[in-house]
Amino acid sequence: MTNNLSLDEFYHEVTKKNIGVYTKEEQAKLRDSRVIIFGLGGVGGMESILCARSGIGHISGVDPDIFELSNINRQMMAMSSTINEYKSVSTEKHLKDINPFLSANFHNVRVTEDNVDELIRGHNLVLEALDDMPSRIIVHRAAQALGIPSISMSGSPPHRGFVSSFFPDGIAYEDALNIPTHGKPISDPAVTQFVHDIKKKRAQYSVSKGAPQTWADDFCSGKTGWIITPIRATLLAAFSCHEAIQILIGQKPLAPAPKGIYIDMDNLTSPVSVIDPECGYWEAYQI
């Protein structure tokens, strides 16, 4: 399929349009980079594609789920033909068709406090694209402890999103999002309660940003899922990936925490901007 191109020839052919924006030296850094993506859904799946297309040499992915019909509206690898396949398996297959020389390591597991260190070790950067708060906390805590930068994201209805980059010597994830769980194990009842409450608070706050009250009420009573379109998921992935690349090539990221890239596509004058929160942190339920 690669017409007997050598690895170097192939790499040059597929990445030559990056040169001019990135220098050849920067592109070489991407080729030598190793990233791991937690969550391979609407955001993480697209992140894996963007990383592979940008020429990042090694990509690991972690997700225990299979594709369902309701993923199709936003998840890039969710197709009629991939329903019931493991996301980790479909994603690796898809990426190998973008770059057959890609070094890939995909895990069909859920991230936990027990396996997170082993998963993250050996990578230059972590992209977090998980949909539950406890797992997010686990990933960013571990990345910071292991001295590896991690990109966080969150998305809320109707078209809002948030991306921020965390560094070993910077503010901690839980401090930047004002989550009062610092130092507590994820199994602590106080953590469970906080996480439970914040989900509902986020849904109700979304109503003030344009989401329907009926949806928020149905969500809070467990009748319906979190609403999301391809617009928000893809934008979150693209902005996260841009932050990741800036860090990997040694340029400044736009949003080192507590700064955040704030997306609100219903804002008709300033849909996306970098915001430095005045009080030094964000409220997790508002993003």
Partner: protein, 299 residues
């Protein structure tokens, strides 16, 4: 990827029922962002996307995943290795395959009920009217500045809204929507071709704007040696993955807003412009030009 055949209206009632249930599941997570009535509106919209490359590819995927039910794809090119760095429909197994055919395959794999028509041809003054008429909206995702002039002239004449895009080194992009009520494309972008017949001379003049855009990119951080090489035709237009895909998503969002026509969520009608610069804290802004015009060389 598996090719799934289109469902025709002759299918049995039971499978109609089945496909309706399937669509309900596919678009379940849209409800709340859109109402059921709006989802139907999107399904009944006819949209034409011209160009299935870096911007058009993600635009088409996004339209299909949002539930647009009638999609026409116009592209005469085949996939090449240099597309892989950003084009969502491209892959190694699709090298040398027709982009429009591949777009159809992917759209039908997302939802087999979507009506997809493809045209493997270049858009010209001779076929533009025939291609665009009958659509409710058109997205210009071509890389030819001359084709763009033809698209937006024709669309405005036919009173069909048209979405314009730009992807410019190093980290810049733009999106805006034209309609029969906005000023003309060539006026808004200060093209010297406005009101002129598209002679070879005028076409050449339009094409040169791209060199001016390359030169202007340098002050925004593009590599000067790249701009020189581009002007000497020794280097391709530089474009990176995150920017092309953000612009494509924004183009699909314009289509979404045109289709819904909500009072409080109107498209970005020209001369207002969605301006993207991922190197600046104001990464995406909607701006109004001071004298009603933009300079295309600077976008």
């Amino acid at each position: 990827m598996q090719h799934t055949p289109v469902q025709h209206s002759s299918v049995l009632d039971s499978s109609m029922q089945h496909s309706e249930n399937m669509e309900k599941n596919i678009y379940a997570r849209n409800y709340g962002v859109v109402t059921h009535e709006e989802q139907n509106k999107i399904k009944n919209t006819k949209i034409t996307v011209i160009g299935a490359g870096g911007v058009g590819g993600i635009t088409l995927i996004s339209l299909a995943r949002m539930g647009f039910g009638n999609i026409q794809v116009v592209d005469m090119d085949k996939f090449d290795y240099s597309n892989i760095n950003r084009q969502m429909l491209s892959s190694i197994s699709r090298i040398a395959k027709c982009k429009a055919e591949c777009a159809k395959e992917t759209i039908l794999d997302i939802n087999p009920n979507i009506n997809v028509t493809i045209r493997q041809e270049m858009l010209t003054e001779d076929n533009a009217k025939e291609i665009i008429s009958g659509s409710d909206m058109v997205i210009d995702a071509t890389d030819s500045l001359v084709a763009r002039v033809i698209i937006h002239r024709t669309a405005q004449e036919l009173q069909i809204p048209s979405v314009w895009i730009a992807v410019t080194p190093p980290f810049r992009g733009g999106v805006m929507t034209f309609s029969h009520e906005t000023p003309a494309y060539e006026l808004v972008l200060s093209h010297p071709s406005h009101g002129k017949e598209l002679t070879d001379e005028v076409k050449k003049e339009i094409a040169l704007i791209k060199d001016e855009r390359a030169k202007a990119s340098v002050k925004h951080g593009a590599l000067p040696e790249w701009a020189d090489a581009f002007i000497n035709k020794d280097a391709p237009w530089a474009v990176i993955c995150p920017v092309a895909n953000i612009v494509g998503i924004c183009a699909s969002f314009e289509a979404f807003k045109i289709a819904l026509n909500r009072e409080n969520l109107q498209p970005t009608y020209a001369p207002n412009l969605v301006k993207i610069d991922m190197s600046q804290p104001n990464m995406m802004q909607v701006l109004t030009p001071e004298n009603g015009r933009w300079d295309n060389a600077q976008l």
